[in-house]
């Protein structure tokens, strides 16, 4: 039999007490400080219950939160289970809310990072252009030359990516040699296009080309006189015996040419350095030294052109030595390699900051 608990007073005033007990049922209402509302709810609940079961309404109200109640056991169990279910559902809703909140935060963070990256990249390219182009008398031409190149290069990379995908599809689809040859030719031609672009911007600002500021950071790591090392092209397999011999010879010639150009570059560095350092230091005017150095720096343009010429010749020789299919695979590998280097740069730029040491 139901014995009224101390908490439950069946008077109008005492009706506030059960608010605590009814917590499980409607915890949301706890926050509602208005007792009247709560009261009406309780009354509602009360009515509902009365509709369902008149005899046990009273008991349900009291027994719902009071586990020490000595109500009839089966009803007790049912009520407890229902209450637990409601609690579980509530907790689940809260968890879901927290998860969605977390997702929203991550999404915002991602957008922020993407914007930062975009800004940093633009700044990097722009800074390169602005810094390089701020010497006297050239700023107009230099900046416009660099700006034009940057736009063209962006397009060049997009086309490059498209070509790699086409090559991959073509190789997997086993298209005819003639069709593959067309793809190979346009692939090689695309690199030649880049060398032409570089030649133009080198005349505007050779430091821009040589610093590699127009490339991603990982590509810059491997830079040799304003681009990739020509001998990088010669890492291939599989080859026939005749091809192995030819590639070996090409590799040696390429290496010798690279060495010669590298040494020439070193000599140029020494020359410019000693020119800039020359003359008395205690004199304020250094114009003659700097002016002479300017002349010598013009030679840098020839070196950049020679390096690109070497890349071009190596590509052409490879195209001659290899079969169409081999050349296609080689171009695919080369393009994919640079694509991965670019991805590496992006990943590196957005890596989480290292925790600062205590």
């Amino acid at each position: 039999m139901n014995s009224p608990t101390p908490q439950f007073v069946p008077s109008r005033l005492g009706i506030y007490e059960p608010i605590h007990q009814i917590g499980i049922w409607g915890e949301n209402f706890k926050s509602n400080g208005n007792p009247n509302t709560s009261t009406s709810v309780i009354v509602e609940v009360d009515n509902k219950l009365e509709n369902e079961s008149e005899t046990t309404s009273h008991e349900m109200l009291t027994a719902s939160n009071n586990y020490e109640q000595e109500a009839s056991k089966p009803i007790d169990k049912i009520q407890r289970r229902l209450a637990q279910n409601r609690e579980a559902a509530r907790k689940s809703r809260l968890r879901k809310k927290a998860y969605v909140q977390q997702l929203e935060n991550s999404r915002l963070k991602l957008i922020q990072l993407e914007q930062e990256l975009q800004r940093a990249r633009q700044q990097g390219l722009y800074m390169g252009g602005v810094l390089e182009g701020s010497h006297i008398g050239f700023s107009g031409t230099v900046n416009s030359g660099i700006a034009a190149f940057e736009m063209e290069y962006g397009r060049w990379v997009d086309v490059q990516h498209r070509q790699i995908c086409e090559l991959r599809t073509a190789l997997n689809a086993h298209i005819s040699d003639i069709e593959l040859r067309i793809l190979v030719e346009s692939g090689i031609g695309h690199y030649f296009e880049l060398f032409r672009m570089k030649s133009t911007v080198a005349k505007a600002d050779v430091f821009y080309v040589i610093s590699g500021v127009w490339k991603t950071s990982a590509e810059r790591f491997f830079s040799w006189i304003g681009g990739f090392r020509p001998s990088e092209l010669l890492k291939l397999d599989p080859l026939t015996e005749q091809q192995i011999l030819e590639v070996c010879n090409l590799k040696q010639s390429c290496q010798q040419a690279e060495d010669a150009l590298s040494q020439g570059m070193e000599k140029l560095q020494e020359t410019v350095s000693s020119t800039v350092a020359g003359g008395p230091v205690d004199e304020v005017s250094y114009i003659p030294q700097v002016a002479t150095a300017m002349e010598k720096l013009e030679a840098l343009v020839s070196f950049v052109n020679q390096a690109d010429h070497l890349r071009q010749e190596t590509l052409q020789q490879m195209s001659r030595i290899l079969t169409t299919r081999q050349a296609a695979r080689g171009l695919l590998a080369l393009g994919e390699y640079f694509h991965r280097l670019r991805a590496l740069s992006t990943l590196w730029a957005t890596r989480p900051p290292e925790p600062s040491l205590p």
């Binding site: 090409l250 030679a299 020679q306 010749e313």
Partner: protein, 101 residues
């Protein structure tokens, strides 16, 4: 015209250069690696340098220096030498003049 051709045919491998030209230096390094001793004429040190420069340009070199002659015949400038080397044609051309000591 005469001076250039005369100097070019005097020695086996002749490189016309300028004293400050580092690309010319690179070419001589390459010949060195291939076992060839090249004779370098610095036309900016030559009283007839201006004439020689004009001659070289007239002979077909886009840049007057470096201008490379092998066996008295004009091979060309850096571009031509590099192309020749990568295509495997330079070493056979230099073979009679290689001096490995």
């Amino acid at each position: 015209m005469d001076k250039v051709m005369r100097l070019a045919s005097e020695k086996d491998v002749v490189v016309f250069s300028k004293s400050s030209c580092c690309l010319c230096y690179a070419i001589t390094i390459l010949f060195q690696e291939l076992g060839v001793t090249s004779t370098v004429h610095e036309i900016d040190q030559d009283p007839e340098g201006r004439e020689m420069e004009k001659t070289l340009v007239r002979l077909g070199c886009n840049a007057p220096v470096p201008a490379i002659f092998v066996g008295g015949r004009l091979v060309g400038s850096t571009n031509e030498v590099m192309s020749l080397h990568l295509s495997g044609g330079l070493i056979p051309m230099l073979k009679p003049y290689q001096t490995w000591c």
